[in-house]
């Protein structure tokens, strides 16, 4: 059934993405593609992979935004990874006419059953975040599975049972955990850092949260320019007695 679970799940698995430290290296997108192309909704098909106009199914995309403070004229660049937010009030689920889209009661993960999806694309229209992908080769919709085939995989070591994007991030900008538990490590992280939801006005109540860049350490303008070494080639100021004597001998 594509109605949402009547009671929202107690466990809400999701990601917390730290925009302060993401360096925009795209490793999460690449490892996501690598894991998922043989995972739950495999394959993640590519079109014209070696020709002009390549495109394909990606669950993870990393945008770069500039924030311009119009008062001070200062700007900063923010790398912005985006994947499915596994919304509590997921509009992609309720619009599905076939029941292929569903939200799991046990952990809140939003998935597509590729065996009954008709590829009407309405879920991609209903999602504000662009989390839905259409696989042109298979004619069905695909989306981030939160690596459902990895996080519960008992053949992996416990430390590896996190989504591929999380385990691969070289700077630790992605965190995985239960956002339904107010005392979980990542819930505490969201509280401590003032985490936020994307487009709350769309009423989707995303599970995934984002952490804002930390405030810049503001200095006076003069201090911000690179410090220059004073040029001392010809001066003996501050030199010791011996050095001044040698300088005197050699300068003669």
């Amino acid at each position: 059934m594509t109605s949402l679970p009547r009671k929202s799940s107690r466990i809400k698995l999701g990601l917390v993405i730290d925009l302060d430290i993401c360096v925009g290296c795209q490793a999460c997108a690449v490892n996501c593609k690598e894991w998922n192309t043989s995972g739950h909704s495999a394959p993640l098909t590519d079109l014209n992979p070696y020709g002009k106009g390549q495109q394909g199914v990606w669950y993870n995309r990393i945008h770069s935004f500039e924030a311009l403070d119009e008062k001070t004229g200062e700007s900063q660049t923010i790398n912005f990874p985006k994947s499915c937010l596994h919304c509590e009030d997921a509009p992609c689920v309720t619009v599905c006419p076939t029941g292929a889209s569903y939200k799991r009661e046990e952990d809140g993960i939003v998935l597509v059953n590729g065996d009954i999806c008709i590829g009407c694309k309405l879920c991609s229209w209903a999602c504000p975040y662009g989390a839905r992908e259409y696989d042109e080769t298979e004619g069905v919709m695909k989306k981030c599975t939160l690596c459902v085939d990895k996080i519960y995989n008992e053949t992996l070591s416990p430390s590896s049972r996190v989504p591929a994007c999380v385990s691969t991030c070289p700077v630790g900008a992605r965190h995985f955990g239960d956002l339904g538990d107010p005392h979980s490590e990542i819930s505490n992280l969201v509280k401590a850092r003032g985490g936020f939801s994307l487009m709350p006005e769309q009423g989707t109540t995303p599970v995934n949260q984002y952490l804002p860049p930390r405030p810049k350490q503001h200095q006076k303008r003069a201090d911000q320019s690179p410090r220059e070494l004073e040029h001392k080639d010809t001066s003996t100021d501050g030199a010791g007695l011996l050095a001044r004597w040698v300088d005197k001998v050699l300068s003669a």
Binding site: H63, S64, T98, C120, A126, D135, F196, G203
Partner: protein
């Protein structure tokens, strides 16, 4: 939004077909339709042809058309599912009404009852079609009550104009009344479309690049670099951009061909040159088709989706 041909034909065609079915029942109820076999064949033939053609065409944009029957299952939450069920169910009473008309030459008493039930169900089906679009919060240009009002008004308008053409073809004495009815609904449709555009153009932005990224506190947000150098599915489906450059011109074309020209031509056929009414009616219908297809194309092509905020749009 990408204006897929199949969806444009589906919404305009099935809308006009249901409009005809509604008028065939309502006009029979007030005794304005002859229970003639041949007339019934042509009128119901066009109406069902448009409805069936529209529904079949709507499956063309599916990735897996052979699974289309599955779309009937989720009526509890999905307007697309409700639309599918309503469309199939409507064939029952309207089909029986058509059979009674064509075979028994009967469009009064019990059969008109079936016709009216079919008309109500046709209205429900058109409403469900409009809600597929009207329920999407992500496309603010659709998420307005005017979407519903417009779909229903246009179904009644295009259905009336087509039925007028058929009645002219059979030289029915009731043709002028159906023509006048068409003129009333053309005026209504014209006004509704103007209200729709006014409401869409003046609506404040629902989402912005600042709310999409949650970074508004840091300042004005703009895209520095897209996630990839090539196009992607999201941009092809939701980031359609061709229309907006010409939108003012296209709106004028839609209004002129879809409403003004048919209105004038119908008036001419009724009050000026009844002897040429068939040729005039044919031109009116042709112009109306081009106009309403342009209108529907704009409905899709002009509408912006909030996901484009992640690809360079600043407010939607």
């Amino acid at each position: 939004m990408h204006p897929a041909k199949s969806v444009i034909f589906f919404t305009t065609g099935s809308g006009a077909g249901y409009g005809m079915l509604i008028w065939l029942a309502v006009l029979s109820l007030v005794g304005l339709q002859p229970a003639d076999t041949f007339y019934g064949l042509v009128a119901f033939g066009i109406a069902f042809g448009l409805v069936v053609g529209g529904l079949v065409s709507s499956t063309f944009h599916l990735g897996r058309p052979e699974r289309a029957w599955r779309a009937m299952s989720q009526w509890r939450s999905s307007w697309l599912s409700r639309e599918g069920i309503a469309a199939i169910a409507t064939f029952g009473p309207t089909g029986l009404f058509a059979l009674a008309w064509v075979i028994l030459n009967e469009n009064q008493s019990y059969s008109v009852g079936l016709g009216i039930i079919g008309a109500v169900m046709s209205l429900i089906t058109v409403y469900c079609t409009s809600m597929i679009y009207g329920s999407l919060k992500t496309v603010p240009a659709w998420f307005t009550k005017w979407t519903r009002v417009a779909y229903i008004t246009f179904a009644l308008m295009t259905g009336a104009v087509l039925l007028w053409l058929v009645s002219v073809l059979f030289n029915l004495p009731q043709a002028p009344i159906i023509g006048q009815l068409s003129m009333v609904f053309i005026v209504l449709g014209f006004v509704v479309k103007l209200f729709y555009w006014r409401s869409v153009d003046n609506a404040p932005a629902t989402s912005t690049a600042e709310s999409a990224t949650g970074l508004g506190k840091l300042g004005k947000i703009s895209l520095v670099e897209a996630p990839h150098s090539e196009d992607n599915y999201l941009l092809q489906e939701m980031g359609y951009r061709v229309a907006r450059k010409h939108s003012t011109k296209l709106r004028k074309i839609a209004l002129a061909l879809g409403f003004v020209v048919p209105f004038i031509l119908i008036a001419l056929a009724i009050y000026g040159f009844p002897q040429f009414q068939l040729i005039i009616a044919s031109i009116a219908v042709f112009s109306g088709i081009v106009g309403i297809v342009t209108e529907r194309w704009l409905f899709f092509a002009e509408a912006k989706h909030v996901v484009t905020l992640y690809y360079g749009e600043s407010a939607i």
